[in-house]
Amino acid sequence: MTELNEASVRAECRAWLEANWDPNLGLVEWRHKLAESGWGNPHWPSRWYGRDLPVGLVPVVEEEFKRIGAIGVAKAGIRVLAAATILAHGTDMHKEKFLLRIMTGEDTWCQLFSEPGSGSDVAGAVTRAEMKGNQWIINGQKVWTTSAHKAHWGLLLARTDWDKKKHAGLSYFIIDMKQPGVTVHPLRQMNGHASFNQVFMTDATVQPEFLVANVGDGWEVTTTTLMHERRGADALRSWGQQSDRPERAYAEERAEIATTMEPYKWYPQRAGRVDLVVPRAQETGAISDPVVRQEVAKLLFMSKAAEWTARRARTAQEQGRPQGPEGSLGKLASSHIARAAARIHTQLSGANAMLTGEDSPMDGVIAEILVSVPATSIAGGTDEIQRNIISERVLKMPRERTGDSDKPFKDVPRNTVA
């Protein structure tokens, strides 16, 4: 076995791409080749479409793809979390059935964790899974489910035992979304978009072999999924650069990106559009107002300092050093930044902040910022939960006693409206 280093990986990857990359292939056909070669997800196990490459060398492979303009395997959306979870906890059957079609992009996935009655407290899920006859019968409601209407498969957290304590009574399933017992309704948000869905499961079924890990292991498996979600939050919604070249594979990728990214098109506005603050201040003339200048400068400090803090964390990680507390702060910082940006955009727009759509500045972009920013401090863990996580896990402050840890889940008080 030759030694793995940057040069050897680069040479081998380059040689394979030069021999195999063909933009006139269909996207799925090309990704099949990629999956077989192991270059699509080179850090995955060699037994499962990977090459056991250390994570630190993956950027080298990415650079080679970029150099030649080759398209990678499908990497956006919940499918990435599904793959990570299946690799960690799934059976060989799961891996055979799902991983390849995740990589080719043929299957779309969704995540069925949050419920109307359990937002921050995901482990308080009350969706029921009961073994009847020789299959699991699922009843309950999930919410905030991105792409549920397109998904073929769902990652489902459900309660299998009500006599056990909260976390111990949960199990994790892979559910077929295309069945009569599953109904999907779009959930309209305060900004007018409908990026998420409510999913109703009424006597939906799951075959026994689609349980992931064991009955009662649901929380542990969920933690794996959530860990990957937190780690790759930005990657799930980004696609790097798309090419406008005419060949078949590029055209198919453009169509795929358009579909996958559709629910996320207001996300830049959600983050506050810091990039628009100085141009808008110049355009409106407010840049000469000393009060506005102070507010803009405060925002730019936060935004730059948060970016550099993330770079510090990433550099430490790349160098294999233990990450300091700086790694846990990005989410909380982004809430502050988004709120401050929305405040300044309001100030810069004045009376026009009352308008929306084509009657408002930048054809509605500014208006969309103002009604999208509130999502930043809620989605993916509220600011309050982030502060709990920072204080307990980073600062090691004592955990608060909760009302649900010492009794069977059936005796835990919970929301009456579900």
Binding site: A281, R293, A305, R311, E326, L329, N388, S391, M397
Partner: protein, 376 residues
């Protein structure tokens, strides 16, 4: 741009932190802050020479180690953390900085080796009674006299100005205005006609003096009439160094407050278990880490010769001014009644935060400088 410290730098920091904890504990700061000088020559020289602290950034040809601002700012961060009472900032940052930026080769060869070895202390006298750190506000005059010059006027807020062996003074030619006609001069601390008055400072760990110049003989430093640029550079460097000192102090306050909250029992449990306290602690961590990132970035910008360095220095200083003061306010609050007592150490950093907040310009001033240089 570098976003991490090298292992040599980390090791230097670890050794320095250990040495300062051992040899410059808070009780030593409490003793020295009650003296008029604010420091003691023998003790400081011994501490300085063990790691060659004043030599860190001085070029090798003038007796120093020739490191950059990355290393200098580690020293300052650790000194801010330990609240060391020493003429380090005045000497190694202000005095040496002005000499390096403005002086001729002969002047550097004459002045820097003494600073590097710790024999000589120095400072920079620029601000006057208006409390303005921009060169154009200078009114103190330098008039040619014989082979040299005589200085007349006042300088105010001069750090360690009452004890410095060498004082670098910003002065202008009579009748000049703005950035024109500005020159730097060196004056001996015991020069005839110089009177130095120790000011009563809110922060007893950083001594300030008001200097009166009455026909004081002075030697020109560098080129006559061309001091505006090297002076501005020196203030930018000093601003970045102060910012790093500030984030060291802020982190210390944050850590001490957390330790206190973990230990302090009320209602039968540590106050650190209350969510109001946990959320405050998380917010403090965010404030301090953001300020640290900006301080480190600004130091790297100085070493890299980044064209935006003035804006970066101001961005970092504005952030640290807000973060250090806010952290100090939270620190007193978390300590409760005990935090308001003289015996508790929190007020030492609280006062250092307050003096640092306005030194070289407060957050409002630096946000405006940043906007002028960077955004519009």
């Amino acid at each position: 741009m570098k976003f991490s410290f090298s292992s040599e730098q980390e090791e230097f920091r670890t050794n320095l932190r250990r040495m300062l904890a051992d040899r410059a504990p808070v009780k030593e700061a409490r003793r020295l802050m009650e003296t008029d000088a604010g420091w003691e020559r023998e003790g400081w020289q011994a501490l300085n020479s063990s790691l060659g602290l004043t030599a860190v950034r001085i070029p090798e040809e003038y007796g120093g180690f020739g490191f950059g601002f990355g290393e200098l700012c580690i020293v300052l961060e650790e000194m801010g953390r330990a609240i060391v009472c020493a003429p380090y900032f005045a000497t190694a940052v202000l005095g040496a900085g002005a000499i390096i930026n403005a002086g001729t080769h002969e002047q550097k060869a004459a002045l820097l080796p003494g600073i590097a070895s710790g024999e000589t202390t120095a400072t920079l006298a620029s601000a006057e009674d208006s409390g303005n750190w921009e060169a154009a506000s200078t009114t103190l005059t330098a008039t040619p006299s014989g082979a040299g010059y005589v200085l007349n006027g006042h300088k105010n807020f001069v750090i360690d100005g009452h004890t410095a062996d060498v004082i670098v003074v910003l002065a202008r030619a009579p009748g000049s205005s703005g950035d024109a006609g500005l020159s730097l001069f060196t004056v001996s601390g015991d020069a005839a006609g110089l009177s130095r008055r120790l000011l009563k400072t809110q922060d007893p760990t950083r001594k300030l003096a008001r200097l009166t110049f009455d026909n004081v003989e002075a030697a020109l430093l560098g080129t006559e009439g061309a001091a505006a640029a090297p002076f501005a550079r020196t203030i930018t460097e000093a601003t970045v160094c102060l910012t790093n000192e500030m984030v060291g102090g802020a982190e210390r306050l944050r850590e001490d407050s957390l330790a206190y909250a973990m230990m302090r029992m009320q209602f039968g449990k540590p106050i650190a278990s209350f969510q109001s306290m946990k959320h405050k602690a998380a917010d403090m961590l965010l404030d301090v880490e953001l300020a640290k990132s900006a301080a480190y970035y600004a130091a790297a910008a100085l070493d890299d010769g980044d064209a935006d360095v003035v804006a970066m220095a101001s961005l970092a200083k504005a952030g640290a001014s807000d973060a250090y003061t806010q952290t100090a306010v939270h620190a007193v609050q978390i300590h409760g009644g005990i935090g308001f007592t003289w015996d508790n150490d929190t007020h030492l950093w609280f006062k250092r935060a307050k003096s640092s907040e306005v030194l070289f310009g407060d957050a409002h001033y630096h946000r405006e400088v940043m906007m002028r240089n960077w955004a519009a």
